[in-house]
Amino acid sequence: MFDVYVPAVVLLPFVSFLVALGAGPYLPKRGALSGIAATGGSLLLSLLLAVRVAGGEAYNETLYVWAAGEQFTLTFGALIDPLSALMLVIVSLVALLVHVFSLGYMNDEGEVGLPRYYAGLGLFTASMLGFVVADNLLMAFMFFELVGLCSYLLIGFHFREPGPPSAAKKAFLVTRFGDYFFLVGVVAVFATFGTAAFAGEGSFPALADAALNGSGEAVWTPGGLDAQTWFTVIGLLVLGGVVGKSAQFPLHTWLPDAMEGPTPVSALIHAATMVAAGVYLVARMYGFYALTPTTLAVIAFVGGFTALFAATMGVVKDELKQVLAYSTISQYGYMMLALGSGGYVAAVFHLTTHAFFKALLFLGAGSVIIAMHHNEDMWDMGGLKSKMPVTYYTFLAGSLALAGIFPFAGFWSKDEILFEALVHAPGEPLLFGAYLMGLLAVPVTAFYTFRMVFLTFHGEPRSDTARDPEPVRWNVKGPLSVLGTLAVVTGFINMVPVQKVLELEGIDLLHRWLDNHWGGIEGLSSHHYAELGPYSSTYLVGGEAGTVLVGAAVSLGLALTGLGIAWRLYDVPTPTEHTAALGGIKAVLYNNYYLDELQVWLAYRIEDVAGGADTVDQGIIDGVVNGVSSVSLAGGSRVRRIQTGLVSEYAAMLTLGLLALLVVLGLNGGWFL
């Protein structure tokens, strides 16, 4: 049965893509209904797969061999283990809700080009699902690229306006920059191990582990490099793709611009597809990353830094979606921090909760944008709380989750990340720095989140549209309600702190799930990763339970502080901008630390270098080639004059040639001596 279900999960949205592309203009909702049916089908199948994995039937099969060689065999296959089953459910659920929401956001708003839109959504979902089930790195890379392509198509959906095409191009190019490194990493994995499979006896993480232990065959390394060093290089190369897709510093610049796409697309990109792909990839090959402490430290530090760095920029933004964009970058930074600090489960947990509350926040923002007639400036909003209660309360739930307030979903996952980083940090200066930055980002996150909530929903309406917002329908409220519920309850799937403090058993469901408690694939369990990893736990005060309590209290206290400041400053009838108090920093933050300018400057410098290279190419390389050919040409045009067309002269030449031959033979033979 698996053999049918697994491809069907991926192919259903692909079929919806084909339907929307081929028959979209003739369908009643221009492809929305087929998309809803397909993603709904994928969701059901994903749930079924999850149930079967829970029943101990994990799946790791090669489905199609597309190139069989002597050294490498390139295949498509599927790997359904607890991690990918969980991710399948998340992706298909969010995709389904985004499709439903699009009925309200796109169809009801009278957008044109809807078949193209739904085709894009279908392909996007299919690519991400394909990426999730991939059983080897090359297949993952191919779907990774497809995801990038779809994001390009959807961000640039309103291609007649100037902003979206440029944002789409930027997203495409910046992520592609990271993907170059990823591609080189894939080739390096093939060259080193001869396989790119994620799981099983002959998978590359297993081979790498064996090579480092000395228990397996030695692997090829370039120039006899130390295996540990070479694996670190491979890990960092693949990480290039991750940094690009998951919008980590310094390749995060595409993500805020990607807000030019339609809001449901932003929800899909930020919650379940595209950005999640990077973090998922690290989790997928965590057995490999756990072997290289340097890579882990880099991941943790980049993550911690991005978490803080992006959060500071979110503080000064005026547009609803911009704030959310920076919060996404920041939250993915937390996930990277978790992965880098050995918190594999914590990262997957945050990936899950974040998927739900960030999809919720984006769809809530979409609802507000409908109500505000596509004005996204928070300074024109205010007082929407009483006019759109469903949106307000669900948005509030998402915001509480994002800010990490007890007992909403984000609290549990963020707390676990910080806990993992804290207990593994002693003796690891990079990790400790990353932890501090992560901790510092907590109050900033709470502050900008509630600044956004208060400016949007509280106070007095500050514009005519805010006084009389356009009502939204069931197709907007429905997805919001589902996600709002999830944002409240998802945290309860993994109440590790409660378990540790109260010493209860069995309420850390996600830990058990990812530890193959109910079934899974050998070598892909969180326990195995913890054994491979370089970290040991140190508890500060009062043992494990004490550390849990102190850590949770500190992060919750910081979050409440940030929330409180936002409440004092912005929860007033007519709030004013307080960002002027930041002085010169405001301009720096507002302009994203001038990183865009830096990248443009770098691009121009590269253009200069390219110009130089062009001169060398045109002048010297081509010069040599052209010189050689002009010598031949000139010589040819002289020498061809002997071809006179007169038969007598040919005969004379023949005779002369014969004579010359005779003379040479004679000289050699010594006739004339």
Binding site: T644, G645, L646, V647, S648, A651, T655
Partner: protein, 100 residues
């Protein structure tokens, strides 16, 4: 018996006459005749060496060359006819189209 050198000298003389004809004449018919002279010079050589070594192979070869010369003349006359038809002349310096 006549020494073999005499035959060789005769052949070389006939060959040079033929070569001179090919190089200096403009009339295609003279060409044919000159080529015939050169071939017969070769024949004389063949026969001379056959006599010198007491081996009949050279004579057989000479017979072959005579047959070949007959065929060559047929082809040559054909070319000359076409030449005349196209240029109204059999001067070999007139058709000089196929040059650089």
């Amino acid at each position: 018996m006549v020494p073999v050198e005499w035959y060789l000298l005769l052949a070389a003389g006939v060959f040079c006459v033929g070569l001179f004809g090919v190089l200096t004449r403009r009339d295609a018919l003279y060409f044919l005749m000159s080529v015939e002279l050169m071939m017969n010079a070769a024949n004389v050589n063949f026969v001379a060496f056959a006599l010198y070594y007491g081996d009949l192979t050279g004579q057989v070869f000479a017979l072959f060359v005579i047959a070949l010369a007959a065929a060559e003349v047929a082809v040559g006359i054909g070319i000359i006819l076409v030449l005349y038809r196209n240029f109204g002349d059999i001067d070999v310096t007139v058709p000089a189209e196929m040059r650089w």
